[in-house]
Symmetry: C2
Subunit: 216 residues, 2 copies
Amino acid sequence: MTDAVIRLLLADDHPVVRAGLRAVLESEPDFAIVAEAATAERAVELAAEVDVDVVLMDLQFGPGSAMNGAQATAAITARGPGAPRVLVVTTYDTDADTLPALEAGATGYLLKDAPPEELARAVRSAAAGRTALAPTVADRLLERMRVPAAALSVRETEVLGLVADGLTNQAISRRLQLSLATVKSHLVHIYTKLGVESRTAAVREARARGLIRRGG
Amino acid sequence: MTDAVIRLLLADDHPVVRAGLRAVLESEPDFAIVAEAATAERAVELAAEVDVDVVLMDLQFGPGSAMNGAQATAAITARGPGAPRVLVVTTYDTDADTLPALEAGATGYLLKDAPPEELARAVRSAAAGRTALAPTVADRLLERMRVPAAALSVRETEVLGLVADGLTNQAISRRLQLSLATVKSHLVHIYTKLGVESRTAAVREARARGLIRRGG
DNA sequence: GCGCACGTCAACCTTTCGATTGATGCCGGG
DNA sequence: CCCGGCATCAATCGAAAGGTTGACGTGCGC
């Protein structure tokens, strides 16, 4: 796959963003955009049908979509070796976004404010199997390793995200297929790690630290 | 200004999005992109210096920017007649985003998931001084006029703000020199007005509607 | 192999929250 | 003047949340 041409699949629900990625990447002679997907499901299909080296994957796919970019990433990389590499290109760099994506097997994580050269460099890295992370994402990961106490686990971040959406512990347990006891257990750990003692305070603290996204 | 060519200024901090807008709009023969801005401040400058008919304005300009899109919109439209029209093109359609932008004098409000044809149509509408709103935004505005009950009193907003800061009812009562009963009474009214049934859900809803400040 | 973090769950208990009902006083518009 | 919205407070009760303790299996690193 390290031939002359790198075959790309663009997965983003915004036509404008797809056009922008296409415009930026098509100017590179060794890139070829072979397919576009406006939904996560379609991206998974195309990644299986078409011969693709790197998938440029957005994480958010609008309220009308059941699957998000992280799930699509997992579905694509689950096919093991030979599967295309997934390079996440999105707007947010909170732990709530980056951790699930990287855990799903993304080879890289870039922000949409990245300049075109950086984007092209990341695509070539991903095609070669090398990881390409945005500086802020890399910083955040290193900080996690340096101070592991202040970092929430993926599961904890997931629970806290639902808390921030206003769900009760009961609702969270149903949504995540957990027992109520487990949800409370996660919350106790979250409170300890964040140094707070209530759900609303935890949401506020997590928002301030960039652990969860600020928007709804 | 209703001549043959509509002169456009693109204001967005994402190079990819600017490239996408350029790619989509340049294919229209009567559009001419005369300038691009990566910051809100630069957009205001350019809108004053360059002869522009319509500004395509993003609302979010990254954490490094002091001015947001709504403020830039206000600065541009403040120059009265002869000033370029501002067409907001952004990702979010919550009240917290749309209301300030429209109040700042935006002629239109589109979402980035809009198809290219709709985008071109909105640009022509804006150039002619006609308002162009995304369907979801228009729905939201109509709903707001139909049900004006969703306005919180000053005191209720104050209480909800402290709830959003993670304070307990006890702490709020002390902070505001109230009895615990009064705080709970306010919260009941807030829940009724917002159509929710828990403090975290109320915070989320208020944030989405722009009733309380988004930042911590 | 062992320790450790993580995720999972249970039982018990205390505190807080939310729902209900009801009351008082103030103020402004019809 | 009276009604309604707002702000204030009280009492009560059930539900939810939070604290504590303890437990089990898994996976990872030393």
